[in-house]
Subunit: 239 residues, 2 copies
DNA sequence: TCTTCTATAAATCTCGAGAAAAATCCTTGA
DNA sequence: TCAAGGATTTTTCTCGAGATTTATAGAAGA
């Protein structure tokens, strides 16, 4: 019997286990700043919030170590990974090193399926950008998801699993910082125009132009974060 | 009171907890092929071998997911990450992308301390290479450690934590494959000469030559593994 | 003989409690 | 008032047992 599968948003992977469920919610909360950078993550407190046992929550925290969103120190528990302007600069430049290479490969190797997926992702992103601006946090969240989907679709034709893996981690890291840059808008940006240009160059298979636009695009966010006051990067040492 | 600290081999971090101890031994066993690629890792069996509780062993396995040496599937337990010739090609090329960049930065920024550390690491590696050849697995193990230490010392002056982090993971991965290439010696190599040339170019701050030698050096191992019969990459589907 | 269904066995996941370590607070003395 | 030491509290780490899910083996039917 054929089931009608409802169209899923990508990334909405159903958790098959309590550990995965707690992991996903914890990851989301860390990226969104519910748990501040540098904050101590006490198992005994968190197990109530996420409604799982202590051992289960420990496993979820261990999974977050893979994403480098949590650091574990033996006999001293877990902490949210600290943030700093130097770290974001490092993240950005490493991400560009990997992502531009993956984009080069993708433009060279991508077939019709890849093109179709890029067109679709760009369309979805454009729609989300229209609904943006009215300070709707739900719309912003959806935009984040589609922005990631667009960037990942662009490099999806790269045959390098490892580059895509590392890119995924770095993108996730940068989300924490991008969230901060929302608080200040010192650099006026027409993000949609940037995406449009990147999209055009990619479909035209213009490697040089596409990587150049991508680099500018990513560095612009770095500049925005650089202008933030240092207090944003203080981080909690205790509690 | 001053204590006399015995000179430690790098990487010999004392485990502060049972989880870390099991993690280190498991990692070593996976890299050395005690647990074959693709093999299922049953908690109930392994907890006896490593003399820890089931929950503790689960946490150790979760830590290995960070190194991409183990893959976890919800409700289906853990497996040793499979290997393939395509995977090693990907590992090698991604590693070169990162490691050459880190080497460039290191040669540009490295100071006296970096130089001294490189000289020391090269000296230690040379000594280990002299003792090699008599099929002594203990000497081979020591050579592995010092080879890694030399490569990490070369890029230690790179300011990018993220590049070094990813390089560390990829190097660890490649150890599994390098171990396979020991079984066949189709390509005669004077590894010491390659290291000597890399060392000379690095201290001379000849970026172009150093990165070029490094690339050749790493690709040569890829070629050696490529000549292995396909049976090496079969991997266990069950058990 | 092959497929399908069911019953059994095995493995994973989950939780709470006890042991060990770290952090905190409080007393004591100068 | 401050520092040092010790006792208490908090937190982390560890284990074994029960519940749920998956895998295996066997029986029934085509």
């Amino acid at each position: 019997m054929n089931e009608v599968v409802p169209p899923k948003t990508p990334e909405a992977v159903e958790p098959k286990t309590l550990v995965e469920g707690a992991y996903q919610r914890l990851r989301r909360d860390i990226i969104e700043g519910v748990h501040a950078p540098g904050e101590k993550l006490r198992v005994e407190h968190l197990k109530d919030r996420y409604e799982v046992g202590a051992g289960t929550l420990r496993e979820a925290l261990l999974l977050l170590v893979t994403d480098a969103l949590v650091v574990a120190q033996g006999q001293r528990g877990f902490r949210v990974s600290p943030i700093s302007i130097e770290d974001f600069e490092d993240i950005t430049r490493t991400r560009l090193l990997l992502e531009t290479e993956a984009l080069r490969q993708s433009l060279q190797l991508g077939g019709e399926d890849w093109e179709a997926a890029v067109v679709a992702a760009f369309h979805r992103l454009s729609r989300a950008e229209q609904k943006l601006g009215d300070n709707d946090s739900l719309a912003a969240e959806e935009w984040e998801r589609r922005n990631r989907a667009f960037h990942e679709a662009l490099i999806a034709a790269s045959p390098s699993r490892w580059i895509r893996h590392f890119q995924h981690i770095l993108y996730q890291q940068s989300e924490r910082y991008r969230r901060l840059s929302l608080f200040s808008h010192p650099i006026p940006r027409d993000i949609h125009a940037e995406h449009q240009a990147l999209f055009n160059a990619s479909l035209a298979r213009d490697t040089t132009r596409a990587t150049s636009i991508l680099t500018e695009h990513v560095l612009r966010t770095l500049d925005a974060v650089k202008l933030l006051p240092a207090e944003f990067f203080a981080g909690k040492q205790k509690s």
